[in-house]
Amino acid sequence: MTGLSIDVVTIVKKEFEEVIKNKYILTTMASFPLVFSIAIPLLYLLAIPVNVTAADIAPFKGLIPGAEGMTSRQILISVLVQSNLPFYLLMPAVIPTVISSYSIVGEKKCGTLEPLLATPVSTRDVLAGKTLAAVIPSVAITWVSFAIYSLLVNSMTFDIFGYTIVPDLIWLVALMVTAPLLSIMSVYLSVVVSSRVSDIRAAQQVSAVFVIPVLSVFILELFGYLSLTLAMIILLSIVIGIVDLVLVMASARAFRRDEILTKWA
């Protein structure tokens, strides 16, 4: 197949129309930038004291590249700003589970799967449409959130650093490569889980798979045990890419007309 088929575009368009009318999904999506891009950075940036001593930043020594020429306050800010990166990997993983659990299990519950599959649309296009309809807004929200975060952080720290501190290469790779891959992983995991359950809430539990590792990384960063490096992000992206391929194949098997209609509907 070259490019997107018209059917995929039709499905994506319809899914978007449904998403913007679903208050639950909209609230969930809007809460991410509010919490992670505004509330949390404001909280810690305002809480950083003016006088930060070398002892205060001892646990973070060696974790920030190029920290040699920085003041203790700058190092602390850099650590805190960097420690937020896992949240921007959490967003593209969690938001799709909210959308896709509705778009797949929802179809199942509302009895719309059979009429949809009765059309000449291919199952591959149905799956592609639903995947894109979940991935696009999730990645878009992540990027918009990051734009807000960057704006807020840079405006509050420019006086301290004299230059903008985000985004750096790690952030860019994480947002441009890892985030979409994670989003795809999340959607396909939802598809596989949705084929086994008939409850939207059960399908949404997929997000738990992502929350625990991401929070662990955040905590490890916050306590100075870990700092995400470019190599780690690239390696993570490769691993997620491989998992994505496996999940795409598994979901193609789960998302077959016969299976869907006799087991899902």
């Binding site: 039709t10 449904e18 179809e107 719309t112 000449p120």
Partner: protein, 309 residues
Amino acid sequence: MIEARRLSRRFGDFSAVDSIDLEVGEGEVFGLLGPNGAGKTTTVRMLACLIRPTGGAAYVCGRSVYDPAAAREIRGMVGILTETSGFYDELSVYKNLRFYADLYKMDHQKAQQNIDYYLRLFDLWDVRNSRVAGFSKGMRQKLALTRCLVHEPRVVFMDEPTSGLDPESARIVRDSIRSLKAEGRTIFLCTHNLDEAERLCDRIAILDKRILSVDTPQRIKYSAYGRKVIVRLDCISDRIASIVHGMDHVRRVESRGNDLLIDVDDPDTDNPEIISAIVGAGGRIQYVGEQRHTLEDAYIKLVGDRVEH
């Protein structure tokens, strides 16, 4: 238009449809009757290329349901009114229908024209911009019919088309089925409404995993009960009964009060001779008629016999 040969579908050890043979012609209204769990929905799903058969062969519009490319073509040429009329509740009537019309690759103008036509026909025009959420079962059913017909399918599979409809709407639907037939479309109707099946269908199949009978509604009734002529006399004598019983084409005679119940093959041919024989034997005939059985009687007899065996 539809042909099935030894068509079967198993789900693991369970046989949902067992080796059925069907042939439905162009412009025919064909009814599929059967108790719950008889395999009607599975049959429709196989013929509409929603699920694959596990045995036999089937062709719709000359294409095999097994061939994946042909299956897509078949889905584009058939319309299906499913058992549950599910819609995207948050979207308007119009947007729901546009979505399906787009998936059927309809020309924008033609889609618009057909949507408008059916919305007016089924009295949904005033709610075309309303969300489907909150619609009554009847409104949903009419909307589902619109969805099923909007792309002008050559074959229409309908599962309980008048279910949940008020009498007026049900009549509109039945008239639409007749119009579709007049246009040369093939209608495959699954229903529990035997009166409706009798009124609409050219032929009927009674299914209970296997086909129990396929014929016109009239012939199904005759095959289940035979044809029985009732002759009411002012007085029945043994002589008259014996003369009638001795006639070649009379299979059985039963006296019930002043009525003679006579089993024959074809009353149109046999009645004149019977009447003449009774009159010749001195009988005074008050009334001659045919004992009527409904399709429901025949259906229950056929399905009941199957259960007993």
